[in-house]
């Protein structure tokens, strides 16, 4: 029987880091319950456990990070923002990681990239610098760089993945679920500063969490 108990999580850990088995491995059942919880108000949302497992697997392996991305992507689906979220079979077959998922976006996007910044207390608990501004700017810069990489015609990895037709076909989403309310606005603006307007981005859970 699948676990339905969701653990409370504090400001010093990501939600997904509480979805673990006693041996520290990822507890996919708990992650799946969170998907259903976030989709509780959505009438037409449907995602089987097997599909969730597939979306959390990168090269056959699920980690807390890959599970976080899958939960965010499925929230977007439950909210009716995207549909048909799936892995890129060509990238999987070639062992290359490009954008997180293929998906049908609201403005004709075909690819979905999920980012999940974290609050300062989570950084502090890991002994890392807690600056929200620094983390946000760096993340924005990385998004810009990642897009440049995949649209660089000299990139030899391009034939190994299903490429978006152009930059406007990539929907970049920042899920601020693991950023506390007091830091969400600062994180959002810092990401935009780092991105320097290079690409439109969408934020979810950026006012209050689902």
């Amino acid at each position: 029987m699948r676990s339905t108990a969701l653990q409370a999580f504090g400001p010093s850990q990501t939600q997904a880091s509480t979805f673990n088995n006693p041996d520290g491995s990822v507890n996919l059942d708990m992650g799946y319950q969170e998907v259903l919880r976030r989709a509780r108000s959505s009438e037409n949302f449907n995602c089987s456990f097997d599909r969730f497992v597939d979306l959390t697997s990168e090269a056959g392996e699920s980690t807390n990070d890959s599970m976080r991305a899958a939960i965010s992507a499925l929230q977007l689906e439950a909210d009716g923002i995207v549909s048909n979220v799936r892995r890129d079979p060509r990238a999987e077959a070639n062992g290359v990681k490009s954008f997180d998922y293929l998906a049908d976006g609201p403005n004709g996007e075909t690819h979905l990239e999920i980012k999940g910044p974290v609050g300062s207390e989570i950084k502090k608990a890991a002994g890392l610098g807690p600056s929200v501004t620094k983390q946000g700017k760096k993340l924005g810069f990385k998004i810009k760089n990642q897009l440049n990489y995949w649209f660089n015609p000299e990139n030899t990895d391009r034939p190994k993945v299903t490429l978006p037709e152009n930059r406007s076909k990539v929907l970049v989403v920042n899920d601020l679920f693991d950023v506390p309310v007091s830091e969400k606005q600062q994180m959002e603006s810092s990401i935009k500063v780092g991105l320097k307007g290079a690409h439109p981005i969408l934020f979810i859970n950026n006012r209050i969490n689902r």
Partner: protein
């Protein structure tokens, strides 16, 4: 009595937190330690073979004479760490993030650095060979590289290939 790293990680497969310990002369092989937190650890002559550290973080850690081989360091954050005389070979460092980290006499060989990110790092007498970073959007920001008494300060953000070009331009003495 001090514990070994091996005994602390036991049969865990991730989400560990280990802080303020010193370990020496250990061989860690074929382990999954994803999404773990390591703070103020010092490793002497330790070998990490086929260890998967995906999504983990190392803060204020030191590695002296250590080797990482066929290791997975994807999305690992290293902040204020130090690597002395270390070898990282045949490993996956995609999306790795090194911040305020020093590398002294280290060797990187056959590593994948897709979207790797180096900020405020110092690389002294270190070598990078057969690195898959060309056009791989690895970035180096505000860092210093020194080799054979020549050094370069990279102020701002640069492609990691700039670093490789600089190292290539230095004739072996």
């Amino acid at each position: 009595m001090s514990q070994t790293f091996k005994s602390l990680i036991g049969n865990y497969k991730g989400n560990l937190k280990i802080a303020e310990q010193t370990f020496s002369d250990e061989i860690i092989s074929t382990k999954i330690l994803q999404s773990s937190t390591f703070i103020k650890l010092i490793f002497f002559n330790c070998s990490f073979h086929k260890v998967n550290f995906s999504g983990s973080s190392f803060a204020k850690c030191e590695f002296h004479g250590c080797t990482f081989s066929e290791a997975i360091l994807k999305r690992v954050e290293f902040e204020s760490c130090r690597f002395d005389n270390c070898k990282i070979t045949d490993s996956n460092l995609d999306k790795v993030d090194f911040d305020d980290t020093n590398f002294n006499s280290c060797q990187f060989k056959r590593i994948s650095l897709l979207a790797g990110y180096f900020t405020d790092c110092k690389m002294i007498e270190s070598d990078f060979e057969e690195i898959n970073s060309y056009d791989a959007c690895a970035i180096i920001v505000d860092s210093q590289i020194s080799k054979f008494n020549r050094s370069i300060d990279l102020k701002g953000d640069f492609s990691f290939d700039e670093l490789l070009k600089f190292l290539k331009s230095i004739p072996a003495s």
